[in-house]
């Protein structure tokens, strides 16, 4: 079993409480940071550690912190706990089970970035996660870990837990700030970037929940120790959320660079494909990333290798699709998500996601025509790179990669009016009426 960093002690009973968290060494990293390091030294430490953002884009964390504009405006930290990318279920677990690790990361990061007010933006649907983080914040205030002069230092910090209310787009950093400011969650034009003009106009750091929860371990163990995990360019460990048609789905923390095959087939992790079927495809980083074919199974799960294979590590949501599943139905389902979650601010995405879904659904139900397949690609071309924010691009990933890999399945839907494979195909249709892909 490889060494655990972010999920270490996650299963200890009562670790969600301050007392037990401290028994297991909690908040010693904060004490060390305040006692032994100047803020700039911590920024440097993050750079050396190689930590990269776990929210989606994989931006180097230390570098992000160093970009904060030096002006007289108050600075802010936003913890992005809006977790809603299909296939991603790690931040919820961290918040529910070990909220103090996140909070310790928030406090250290605030100190490193000269922030005096930090926000933890928790997705609205995650009621228990929000309650757990709120409880941790209350405990921390009572113990002098938040508020004025933390642990006797001259550093003071206020933390506000803010609950979302159902909008995927609020996970996009500028929309998150709009939402925090009490408006509709429409993305902002960039530049200026949040590090320059962010929340309430102040320089703002925004990091994912898992990213921030990794910070205490790096302070405690040292940047070199953390950088000893993973690969040359993708350092450390991360939580892979394994889901879909695999025997043992689950959250598995592994060093970056672990082969996809290990995660999916090793008995300690995925344990192989559900029902001992054949692997058909993998979506390696949440539904916004490009689909990879089964031939990519030996790709190491690190930022560079997955990019070279034609996709992205994204949010760490590894979605496994077996040969039992009709790809057209699966893609139609993913497309519905983007149609429903498009904020409507810009035309290519608002209209494009609607039409892409319409066309996919008519193909899925056997009413499509051959030219619909190229029409889909044409629409994708008009949405990707032409939308106001990355959600538009994201909506096209599964469609373009899906058609490239499995065009014959789309064509089969046109010529035969039903699925080529899976429960929706002719042979099995009468047996499993309610199963996946048959609708």
């Amino acid at each position: 079993m490889p060494e655990l960093i972010i999920t270490k002690n996650l299963d200890v009973p009562g670790i969600d409480s301050l007392a037990v968290y401290q028994q297991y060494g909690g908040y010693t990293a904060l004490a060390k940071a305040l006692r032994e390091y100047q803020p700039d030294a911590l920024v440097e430490m993050m750079k050396v550690s190689g930590l990269r953002g776990r929210g989606g884009a994989g931006f180097p964390t230390g570098l992000k912190w160093s970009f904060l504009a030096k002006n007289n405006m108050p600075r802010y930290l936003c913890c992005n706990s809006d977790e809603s990318e299909p296939g991603t279920c790690k931040d919820r677990v961290l918040m529910e089970r070990m909220p103090h690790r996140l909070l310790e990361g928030v406090i250290i990061t605030s100190y490193a970035c000269h922030v005096q007010t930090a926000f933890i933006y928790v997705r609205g649907e995650l009621t228990r996660a929000a309650e757990q983080v709120e409880k941790a914040v209350d405990e921390a205030y009572a113990a002098g870990l938040l508020g004025s002069n933390i642990l006797g230092s001259d550093f003071s910090l206020d933390v506000i837990v803010h609950r979302g209310a159902g909008a995927y787009i609020c996970g996009e950093e500028s929309a998150l700030m709009e939402s925090l400011e009490g408006r509709r969650g429409y993305p902002r034009l960039k530049p200026p970037f949040p590090a320059v003009v962010g929340l309430y106009g102040g320089p703002t750091v925004i990091n994912n929940c898992e990213t921030l929860a990794t910070v205490p371990a790096i302070v405690a163990g040292g940047a070199e120790w953390y950088a000893s995990f993973g690969t040359e360019k993708s350092k450390g460990t991360r939580i892979f959320c394994l889901s879909g048609q695999v025997k043992n789905p689950g959250n598995y923390e592994l060093p970056l660079g672990v082969p996809m095959r290990t995660l999916i087939y090793d008995e300690a992790y995925g344990g192989g494909i559900l029902g001992d079927r054949e692997l058909k495809a993998v979506i390696p980083g949440g539904s916004s990333t490009f689909i990879l074919g089964a031939d990519k199974i030996d790709t190491p799960l690190d930022y560079e290798s997955i990019a070279a294979a034609g996709s992205m590590l994204g949010s760490g949501g590894v979605i496994v699709i077996s040969d039992e599943t009709c790809i057209v139905g699966a893609i139609a389902r993913m497309s519905e998500f983007y149609r429903d979650e498009s904020c409507g601010k810009c035309t290519p995405c608002r209209e494009g996601t609607f039409w892409m879904t319409e066309i996919l659904e008519r193909l899925e139900h056997g009413h499509g025509e051959m030219r619909d397949i190229d029409l889909l690609l044409d629409i994708c071309d008009n949405v990707s790179g032409k939308s106001f924010c990355p959600l538009g691009d994201a909506a096209t990933s599964c469609i373009t990669s899906g058609i490239r890999l499995f065009r014959e399945e789309f064509e089969y839907h046109v010529t035969h009016g039903h699925c080529l494979t899976g429960p929706g195909s002719k042979q099995q249709a009468h047996e499993t009426v309610q199963a996946v892909g048959s609708r």
Partner: protein, 163 residues
């Protein structure tokens, strides 16, 4: 009705944030907790507590799907239908619940006890298929587990027998 305590909590929130306007979302949550959905009175209370116009508050309330525009069942069931749950046959789960509750997705039972909704990915992908009842998670669902859940909820709601 929005209670005086609720209004006070909204005002407290308005002074807790660096800018009062930021309190609009938590205040809407409070209003909804009081009345079950966002009523005209709820909008007004939020507007007054934060010093915004009612139209302004309404435009925010209508952007976010968790603020309900009409009354909901006592138990709101959200079944995730995004890709990871789809690959684990959530559609059959939704159909099963539709039959059991005798309503379609998006509807509320005539007795006002249950609302059945489909939801976008609820961050339970590794324990699919999953659903939430009033925000609480139920994971690794099967039709049997769904029946047991509804039985337990029926009992809690004092429903004798469902035909």
């Amino acid at each position: 009705m929005i209670s005086e305590q609720a209004k006070q909590r909204m005002r407290d929130l308005a002074s807790r944030y660096p800018v009062a306007r930021s309190a609009v979302m938590p205040s809407l949550h409070i209003a909804q907790l009081e009345e079950g959905y966002i009523t005209a009175e709820g909008l007004q209370a939020v507007a007054e507590a934060i010093n915004l116009t009612i139209d302004d508050v309404e435009s925010i309330a209508t952007f976010y799907t968790m603020y309900y525009q009409r009354p909901q069942g006592k138990k709101i069931i959200h079944v995730c239908t995004s890709i990871s749950c789809y690959l684990r046959n959530c559609d059959a789960l939704v159909e099963h619940l539709e039959q059991r509750l005798q309503i379609k997705r998006g509807e509320t039972t005539p007795d006002g006890n249950y609302s059945l909704k489909t939801a976008e990915c609820i961050a339970a992908c590794s324990s699919a298929p999953a659903l939430q009842v009033n925000g609480e998670f139920y994971e690794h669902m099967t039709n049997e587990r769904a029946d047991a859940l509804i039985d337990a909820l029926d009992q809690e709601l004092g429903i004798e027998r469902r035909v």
